[in-house]
């Protein structure tokens, strides 16, 4: 499903953010990507959703290859991946419902089917009752749940989470990880980057430890 083969990525000419990384993610995997700030976690995620490209090696995601993908094909790759960030990236002028529906609207979906899909994911993250609220009225945890709902509404095969609990209190963080685990149980693979090793250990799952751009153990 996702194959990362001998990938290196340099920034500022000679500084390696990732060096000779090999990784394979299969359907239904739940993987914690741990490591300190600057270890290369975000770089690895950006390579998967092809926001950047490797200097050496190759990334293969759902049939798209980093070496051959065209710029106009990237949106179609992104439609198969769900992505959430530490800063939620919600639109302030849209309600919770509209934020989630936006992901479908911009790819040409509308009508009853769209409404059903949106309500289904909002129910899954426990926010259907707050669908008409605006993001700024919600807690950090609830905002991240909205972002998860938006990422899931397109039914992706994998959810990439870049420090999803970075802006959330410990209680809310556990809540978020529980939702991610539920999503995983339903068949979606999850790759979560976090520097909070304790939290990830507590929640259980497979680990991938990155240090200075290299994988230490899996």
């Amino acid at each position: 499903m996702i194959e990362i083969r001998n990938v290196s990525k340099r920034f500022k000419k000679a500084w390696y953010a990732l060096k000779n990384v090999d990784l394979s993610i299969a359907k239904g995997d739940f993987l914690f990507l741990t490591g300190t700030t600057g270890s290369g976690k975000t770089t690895l995620l950006r390579l998967i959703y092809m926001d950047i490209f490797p200097d050496e090696g190759e990334v293969a995601v759902a049939g798209f290859l980093s070496s051959t993908i065209k710029e106009e094909e990237i949106p179609f790759l992104r439609r198969r991946i769900g992505i959430i960030f530490q800063d939620f990236k919600l639109l302030k002028d849209k309600t919770i419902y509209e934020n989630v529906a936006f992901a479908l609207e911009v790819t040409g979906q509308s009508g009853k089917k769209m409404r059903e899909k949106v309500m289904k994911v909002l129910t899954l993250v426990g926010l259907s009752h707050k669908r008409n609220d605006f993001p700024y009225t919600l807690s950090g945890g609830e905002q991240q749940k909205t972002a998860i709902a938006r990422a899931l509404v397109r039914e992706p095969f994998i959810l990439l989470a870049d420090e999803p609990t970075g802006n959330i209190d410990p209680e809310g963080s556990e809540d978020i990880i529980k939702i991610l685990q539920e999503v995983n149980t339903a068949g979606t693979a999850v790759l979560m980057a976090t520097h909070d090793v304790e939290l990830s250990k507590k929640m259980g799952g497979k680990f991938l430890n990155l240090e200075q751009g290299q994988i230490l153990k899996t």
Partner: protein
């Protein structure tokens, strides 16, 4: 933000429209001056009427000649007397008629430059029937110099206003697009194509440009109405100026939005504080 953008675009387009209006009027004045360019060919004494008629026909058939007007000796004298009517002693001094009959020859557009006027007048001078052929050489040369300077100044001003409008409008649009950077970011994140991302911005930019164009065209028309009523009646080609500002506004809005959204979209790299 939209209102500020429309306001700034309106101001730029107003300047552009005012420049267009000024240019049309400048060309109008130049045309009026050029219409005054004429060649005067003075005839020998006692030519038979038939010969004068034939000569008139020959002049009319010459390349570049727009019209030919004959002035007889008598008409020339009465015109002269009219001009000096405030000096009766001078009228009394003129006992006989010393003025020759003449042809006033007006030239077509494109034949009023000093070179062309000289060329036509030399051709007229070939006819034996004329004593002398005049065309006010120094005045035409001066007019030509003034026209060239005005034309150059107008082009330079046009370039400055054109570039300033493009610069101000494209930067204004860029700010409105940047204000919606998060929307573009989310669109990219969830897999919207570049066309889907660009379209609403291009539409909005075109509409804003069009609205600003209508407003500036409308204000120019209002100024024209007021100046016509209370001061001077300027030439105001409604269609060219109003349509010009609207079309220029729409095109600038469209292109400015397209470039701004394209560059903003390229800049987005899903920034986070992590590496």
């Amino acid at each position: 933000m939209t209102f500020i953008a429309i306001g700034i675009m309106f101001f730029s387009l107003f300047l552009f429209g005012a420049f267009l209006w000024g240019t049309f009027n400048l060309f109008g004045v130049i045309r009026l001056a050029r219409e005054k360019v004429e060649i005067n060919a003075f005839l020998r004494e006692n030519l038979p009427e038939k010969q004068i008629e034939e000569l008139s026909g020959k002049l009319m058939s010459m390349v570049g000649v727009e019209s030919v007007k004959y002035t007889s000796k008598e008409e020339a004298l009465s015109k002269f007397q009219e001009e000096i009517k405030d000096a009766p002693s001078l009228i009394e001094a003129v006992k006989t008629n010393p003025l020759p009959a003449s042809f006033s020859i007006k030239l077509k557009d494109g034949f009023t430059s000093p070179e062309k006027v000289k060329e036509v007048s030399e051709k007229i001078n070939i006819f034996d029937e004329f004593i002398t052929v005049e065309y006010g050489e120094s005045w035409i040369n001066r007019l030509d110099r003034v026209v060239k300077i005005l034309f150059l100044f107008d082009i330079l001003l046009g370039i400055v206003i054109g570039f300033a409008s493009v610069f101000v409008i494209s930067n204004t649009i860029r700010l409105t697009v940047l204000a919606r950077k998060r929307t573009i970011e989310v669109m990219k994140l969830v897999g919207a194509t570049e066309k889907t991302i660009h379209t609403p911005f291009i539409l909005a930019g075109s509409i804003e440009g069009g609205v600003a164009g209508v407003m500036s065209g409308g204000l120019l028309y209002l100024i024209y109405q007021v100046t016509s009523k209370f001061f001077v009646k300027f030439y105001f080609p409604h269609n060219l100026i109003i349509i010009g500002t609207v079309v220029f506004g729409i095109i600038l809005g469209m292109i400015g939005s397209k470039l701004a959204v394209k560059s903003t979209s390229k800049e987005i790299k899903f920034e986070t504080s992590n590496v």
